[in-house]
């Protein structure tokens, strides 16, 4: 099959699946789930064929034209897109498979699987997009599918609120994103990812405004501060959704988008991006420490890791001096050098990939735990699950070790690449990221210990059991990927990647020497040691009893943003709306209409009759006018 057809197959199969489910399978949950999973299987196969089969191509079709504005839809399939597509395909299929078991008894299974299919369609659209308008279209569509899936348990007020919040906060980010796209179009005359590098290389003016506005989109989608507030709430959705959309793929789309527009970056913009990512990483890690809901721990962990990726991109991998011709106002030309700051695509995408594997694993593992414990999500009410759910326990342990950065697991390599970058570029950032890494290890081992060890602390936990094969297989698959996903070499090749993503992998910095191992083991040991010292498997939070001040401080830190936003919405936005509405009703409905009626009075008695009399008067006036006109035209008078 041709490359383009294969890519279109990957894109359109989920759309077809969603359409069929919406039209015919609303009441046939089982069929819908099989169809959607089969579609995800097709996507995974097509994605792997495209990625590993050497298909690299560009294709584009004009979608519509008004005057000089042409909007086209197209595919840009390079190593970066191939990598992202492979991740989406593989993780997507694992999550679909897991959902077969997890959602088996859900009354609205069809809607759920339809939503997953729409999500796959939209996400693949982002991956393939060859221009920013197209990316924006699918960007909004993933927002919609996220809305739909967070709102799955829509009779719960919290789910209804969370879905609304997710969509609106994302739109705030998209506000900046869209302005950035329009500015990019106005400044460079194109938004095509293929043409932009040529325009830039041609010496076009660069500014920090455009990349930063585009970054607003990433801040919304990848939940960077201060637009991170929607992601913890998004845990209201079913757990497989959290794994796929709110951990592995959609929230990583912001990082993917940044890598796509790397050519637009300037040093100032990268600096801002680096700091936003770093602060998010630290803040979220601190919040994760005081969560008692297993999914919320993972949600803040995701935020923190996304911050890592954003920081990695902002750190940049190298600075290149490129000779260019500089034109002067008087027309003379001069040779000069321009320092091109290059975003840290390699390290960011590397961590995105490994994170997709181990975080999807952790979320699906938590889903398995929640499923096993009959929808209990509080870790303090679990306990003793290591024996009752051995496969979940072992795979999740691998996930915890991977995210904590145990040497030879995937997270070790990708996190180390980022720390290495930070160490070279900026010691403050390096210090913050190391603290974050310690915290990561700390809160992950806290969760792991309290969940799996000790006595079962509730009836649900006592009756816990392992899910079926569809639930354990994806866990095993993702656990394997979490181990081997980190092996890449200096030449851009990798153990499971082959040479397929050489363009991306060759940009990964590879720190050498024994120090790397020591550093990582130290970080892990300090975090884990603290966690073991502070927390014992029991019904209460160890930190809250031993260091209550720290616990309260962290809780306050976590809640401050939500409180701030709630205050803004209730006290500022809604009040302002009410005041405006009041003015609208009083001024416009009251005064102006009276005033206007007065003016109309000047039209004379006839017009007055028209407004104060009955409706029928108007009809008669109209008919009379028509008759008179006809008569006049016909020459009667």
């Amino acid at each position: 099959m041709e490359s383009t057809q294969l890519a279109l197959l990957a894109l359109l199969t989920p759309l077809l699946s969603a359409t069929v489910i919406a039209l015919f399978l609303r009441r046939a949950g089982a069929l819908a789930s099989y169809l959607s999973t089969a579609a995800a299987g097709v996507v995974a196969i097509a994605a792997l064929m495209l990625a590993y089969g050497g298909h690299r191509f560009d294709a584009s079709a004009e979608w519509f034209t008004f005057g000089e504005f042409t909007l086209s839809l197209g595919i840009k399939f390079d190593d970066l897109a191939a990598l992202m597509l492979a991740v989406v395909g593989v993780v997507g299929f694992c999550v679909h498979l897991f959902s077969l078991g997890y959602m088996h008894d859900d009354g609205y299974r069809a809607r759920f699987f339809g939503g997953l299919s729409i999500f796959m369609f939209s996400m693949i659209g982002i991956v393939l997009a060859d221009n920013l308008f197209m990316m924006f279209i699918f960007w909004e569509l993933v927002g919609f599918s996220s809305y739909l899936l967070i709102n799955h348990y829509c009779l719960k007020q919290s789910a209804a609120d969370a879905s609304k919040k997710a969509f609106i906060v994302n739109r705030v980010g998209d506000f900046g994103f869209l302005i950035g796209i329009l500015m990019c179009y106005a400044a460079y005359g194109t938004v095509s990812l293929n043409e932009l590098p040529d325009v830039i290389a041609g010496g076009a003016m660069m500014s920090a405004v455009i990349p930063l506005l585009l970054f607003c989109g990433a801040m919304g989608k990848s939940a960077q501060m201060p637009l991170h507030v929607w992601l913890p709430d998004a845990m209201e959705g079913p757990t497989p959704v959290s794994a796929l959309i709110h951990a592995a793929t959609m929230v990583a789309a912001g990082i993917y988008m940044l890598c796509r527009i790397e050519v637009l970056m300037v040093a100032d913009a990268l600096n801002v991006i680096m700091w936003v990512g770093t602060i998010t990483a630290l803040y979220a890690a601190l919040c994760a420490v005081v969560q008692s809901d297993i999914k919320k721990v993972l949600a803040y962990s995701t935020l923190s890791q996304l911050g890592y990726m954003v920081a990695a991109f902002g750190l940049g991998s190298y600075q290149a001096a490129v000779p260019v011709e500089i034109g002067h106002a008087d027309g003379s030309m001069q040779m000069g050098e321009v320092f091109i700051m290059v975003g840290g695509v390699g390290a960011a995408m590397f961590h995105l990939t490994t994170h997709a594997f181990f975080k999807a694993l952790l979320f699906l593992g938590s889903g398995s735990v929640i499923h096993g414990c009959h929808h209990e999500q509080n870790i303090f009410k679990m306990g003793g699950l290591s024996k009752k759910m051995p496969i979940t326990f072992i795979t999740m342990t691998i996930g915890v070790l991977a995210i904590a950065g145990l040497p030879f697991l995937s997270g070790f390599y990708s996190k180390d690449a980022i720390l290495h970058l930070a160490g070279e570029q900026n010691s403050t950032i390096f210090a913050i990221l190391v603290v974050t890494a310690v915290l990561t290890s700390f809160y992950m081992f806290r969760m792991w210990r309290i969940t799996f060890f000790g006595e079962a602390r509730s009836d649900e936990a006592k009756k816990a059991h392992e899910g079926g094969l569809t639930m354990t297989l994806p866990l095993i698959g993702l656990a394997i990927l979490s181990i081997v996903g980190g092996y890449t070499g200096h030449n851009g090749e990798g153990l499971i990647y082959g040479a397929a993503f050489a363009d991306v992998w060759s940009q990964i910095p590879h720190p050498a020497g024994i120090g790397v191992f020591i550093k990582s083991i130290a970080i892990l040991a300090v975090g884990a040691g603290l966690a073991f010292a502070l927390y014992k498997p029991g019904p209460s939070d160890g930190l809250a009893t031993k260091v209550p001040a720290a616990f309260m401080g962290l809780t306050l830190l976590k809640e401050s943003f939500d409180k701030g936003y709630d205050y803004y919405v209730a006290k500022i936005q809604d009040r302002f709306a009410m005041v405006l509405n009041f003015l609208e009703q009083i001024l416009l409905s009251g005064l102006i209409i009276r005033g206007l009626a007065g003016v109309v009075g000047l039209f004379g008695l006839g017009a007055r009759a028209l407004h104060t009399g009955s409706l029928h008067t108007y009809v008669y006036w109209f008919l009379l006018g028509a008759v008179l006109l006809w008569g006049f035209a016909g020459g009667l008078f």
Binding site: F64, T65, F66, G67, E68, F69, L71, F133, F136, I137, F138, E140, L141, F144, Y147, C154, L155, K156, Q157, A159, A160, D161, S163, K164, F167, I168, R171, V172, F175, L178, I179, L182, Y185, A186, Q573, F576, A577, M578, L580, N581, E584, L588, S589, I592, I593, L596, V600, L610, H611, L615, Y618, V619, F622, A626, L629, W630, F632, A633, G634, G635
Partner: protein, 507 residues
């Protein structure tokens, strides 16, 4: 056979037949035909449009002498790339409104349907007329039944609403009539024929002063009809009171008369006047319609008022596109008009369906309706997302194109306009959440005890499906419409674009 004439006349003939006292059952069955014919003809002509021979952008031209040729008035019918999409939209929305009305339990149904048929005939006439006089005449023909329907079949405050609508819309129509007559005289062409007027003015343009004055009249006249801020207050009130099918046809289709007039008549004939007023128009539209009305919409607690205000808000985007005075801007507006026609009609169809089940329009007394009416919820959420410009629905392309065009001319205003995208998400999703999601309120529990809620019936589902399919079709495949729009606009608009000192404005 002149299909355009049949599309206009057949609803009118059936309305007449109903008045003359056909047996009720027969009359109702015939009324289906009366609503179906314009829609079918619209689609047939749409398919033929690309290959049809065109004269000055118009295809299917025919002319009838009505005895008014002494005044330069002939019933000249035809469609160009601007009117054709609107003609098709009017046909489809009319069919949906008719189907909904015929299955409704309205009192004195026959009279109600008769008025709707008259309105439908007028609407088809508006967009098929090449003659400015008949363009105006058909508008009035469609407008009068609206007033009567609001006054008789309306809901809360119907008398006040009908009166207010009548005053505002009459003033608006009068101002625009004065403007149109002024064009007739000052052009010296002594004709209302659009093509002849365009040629006459192209040969010998109007003076700048005349252009400015006439455009001002048309802008405010048409502006009132399209609810330009601050002349919009009739709209939320009127739509709040109007019976559903009347609101569908007015908000969806008839309201577009003003925008259509600006695009088809005012801008091409009065380019310098347009340039003079463009900044004012754009500012009123963006600051007034989009920002102020957008925020006012957030404060609404009545579902129908909310839908009415959101419709006023979205007209701001259309005015902004008009004020760009460019092919891109106007193309976006035409697309937006069609899309908004479908989405506004759909929302005005679904709001009473919600009321039917909750017995209230008060958002605070609803909640959890999705449990009882999942399909209604799906339609409503889809309509909401369409109207707030989610890609995949037609509205998105219109908004996006307008933003692209506006960025070149009014960057600051465009930023405010894009902020409207966030505002509309806030009120749209809030409304959807309050009606359908979350736990049931006590008030709704009580209503359910007396009258258990059911999901959408086929008589509601069919017209809703018609509109939703149209929104999705144009949303996924905009080329269905854009090619012909672009062709006509590009031919008519060079005069406008060259009149604007664009390079100054754009740098």
């Amino acid at each position: 056979m002149d299909l355009l004439l049949i599309a206009i006349v057949s609803p009118l003939v059936l309305a007449l037949a109903m008045v003359l006292g056909l047996p009720k059952a027969l009359a109702r069955n015939l009324a289906y035909v009366g609503f179906a014919i314009p829609a079918i003809i619209g689609i047939v002509l749409w398919c033929q449009f690309g290959a049809a021979t065109k004269e000055s952008t118009y295809a299917f031209l025919t002319s009838y002498d009505t005895g008014l040729s002494g005044l330069g008035i002939n019933l000249t019918l035809g469609l160009n790339g601007i009117s054709m999409p609107l003609f098709v939209m009017a046909g489809i929305v009319g069919l949906a409104a008719g189907l909904y009305a015929l299955q409704s339990a309205a009192e004195r149904l026959n009279q109600y349907v008769t008025l709707l048929l008259i309105m439908q005939g007028g609407l088809m006439g508006v967009f098929a007329s090449v003659d400015v006089f008949f363009f105006y005449f058909f508008h009035e023909l469609a407008l009068i039944p609206t007033f009567i329907m609001v006054g008789i079949w309306g809901g809360r405050d119907r008398n006040y609403a009908a009166m207010k609508m009548t005053i505002y819309l009459t003033v608006g129509a009068m101002l625009s009539l004065i403007g149109l007559i002024a064009i007739y005289y000052t052009s010296g062409a002594q004709t209302f024929d659009m093509i002849a007027l365009r040629e006459a003015i192209a040969a010998d343009g109007l003076s700048t002063v005349a252009q400015r004055n006439i455009f001002g009249l048309l802008m405010f006249g048409f502006g009132i009809l399209v609810s330009l801020w601050p002349l919009h207050t009739w709209a939320p009130l009127g739509y709040g009171a109007a019976p559903s099918s009347a609101a569908m046809l007015h908000a969806g289709v008839l309201k577009k008369f003003g925008l259509y007039g600006l695009i088809q008549v005012a801008l091409p004939l009065l380019p310098e006047g347009a340039e003079h007023w463009a900044v004012i128009l754009a500012t009123l539209a963006v600051v007034g319609n989009v920002l102020i009305i957008g925020i006012v919409t957030i404060a609404q607690r009545d579902l129908k008022q909310l839908v009415g205000y959101s419709s006023v808000m979205h007209m701001g985007y259309a005015f902004l596109g008009v004020a760009c005075l460019s092919v891109v801007g106007v193309g976006g507006v035409v697309f937006m008009m069609v899309a908004h026609g479908f989405s506004a009609a759909l929302l005005f169809l679904l709001a009473p369906s919600v009321h039917h089940r909750t017995q209230t329009f008060d958002l605070d007394e609803m909640g959890g309706l999705v449990k009882h009416a999942p399909i209604l919820a799906a339609f409503f959420v889809a309509a909401t997302l369409a109207s707030i410009g989610l890609p995949g629905f037609a509205n998105f392309w219109g908004e996006l194109t307008i933003f692209v065009a506006a960025w070149k001319v009014f960057p600051t205003l465009t930023v405010i306009a894009i902020a409207g995208v966030v505002i509309s998400a806030i009120y749209g999703l809030r409304a959807a959440a309050k009606v359908f999601f979350g736990p049931q309120t006590e008030a709704f529990d009580k209503v359910l005890e007396e009258k258990p809620a059911t999901d959408l019936t086929w008589s509601e589902k069919l017209p809703a499906l018609l509109l939703l399919v149209a929104l999705l079709a144009f949303g996924f495949w905009p080329k269905l419409m854009t090619d012909s729009i672009n062709e006509s606009v590009a031919e008519i608009y060079p005069a406008v674009e060259s009149a604007v000192p664009g390079d100054v404005a754009r740098n």
